[in-house]
Point group: C2
Chain length 199, copies 2
């Protein structure tokens, strides 16, 4: 801390921002110290707009700006029978950017993590189950990472969906496109080998 | 970008913040999306206070909150005959934390870098020269890094101070305290060897 109350206050706020390494906190504080009044006013106006305008879609829980339903849920050209489940709203953007998917989405807003007290009720899993049971969905694609939390979430959702008879799939694991074999980690090569497919 | 205007606006602001890796921008945006109204209001109030209350000390150019002179320049218990020149205000904090310095400071606010169009007039070098010529200063300690920009700045200041007859020193380079020789880089070991001293 700096012994200058206002700078210390700023630093305490910056320390809460994720992905800001503590060794860089003073440099980031410096960035704001040297910004103009107009720049700071603009940033604050954007932050306030974010809180005022953004809300989760009432169906899929991605962020939307207008109405209660997002542009994916309201797009009549999208396939209503296939549902892609993502951990966070920005994972949805990654799927969209591929241009290879035209179905519905569901944003979990996190993963099951008992150690951090995150159970299914902290996420949007119950609404997901309800959607699958109520809507005419034929396939649910799970895109969660292969981490303990990701696997726990996949296991929980798969169990809950068993009775619905819906097809549950996950993303293919394998060699990244364009990667040289020697630079790919052992587990991925193993996965790619055991899940090999005819050309 | 997300196609959601307000989130895109937030992301453009976050992209300007230094030390925020672009791969983490969406996660940081998520942090702000999930903050409460009260949290956002508090952060904005702090940012505005920073702009309203903070100004550079009229003598040494470190940030100060009250009056026109900082706590170092106004502290009568500090040695007025020795001046430590630092690149940024947070470097001053690093020197203070050692508890081994009780003199004056001067914050350059950057380094000379012709490639980026930063000359002595963009920094506080002229006021530094004026201070040394007007005040009763016997030693100037230069703490800039050993980079091309740091070396250029040291060379420029040293040349400008030559006629004043003041003693100009730099920080000792050598093996970091507690470091094992084998893990220290070659140039540092070379410096430590050529600048060896009797015990
Ligand atoms: Zn939606
Ligand atoms: Zn000062």
């Amino acid at each position: 801390m700096t012994n200058i109350p206002t700078i210390d206050l700023l630093i305490r706020h910056l320390q809460r921002v994720p992905y800001l390494a503590s060794k860089n906190i003073y440099k980031v504080a410096s960035y704001f110290l040297y910004r103009s009044h107009a720049d700071i006013d603009q940033l604050c106006s954007v932050l306030k707009q974010v809180k005022e305008k953004m809300h989760p879609c009432s169906t899929c829980y991605t962020w939307c700006e207008q109405g209660t339903a997002c542009m994916y849920c309201t797009d009549i050209k999208r396939d209503k029978t296939i549902l892609c489940v993502v951990e966070q709203w920005y994972d949805l953007l990654t799927i969209e950017r591929t241009g290879g998917y035209n179905g519905q989405y569901h944003v979990l807003t996190g993963l099951i993590c008992p150690l951090e007290g995150i159970g299914p009720e902290e996420l949007t899993i119950y609404p997901l189950i309800a959607r699958v049971n109520q809507e005419n969905i034929k396939e649910v694609i799970l895109t969660m990472p292969q981490t303990p939390e990701g696997e726990a979430t996949v296991a929980y959702i798969t169990k809950k969906l068993k009775s619905s008879g819906v097809l549950v799939t996950c993303l293919a694991r394998g060699i990244p496109v364009g990667s040289q074999l020697e630079f790919v980690d052992r587990l991925t090569v193993y996965k790619a080998l055991t899940e090999r497919r005819p050309i």
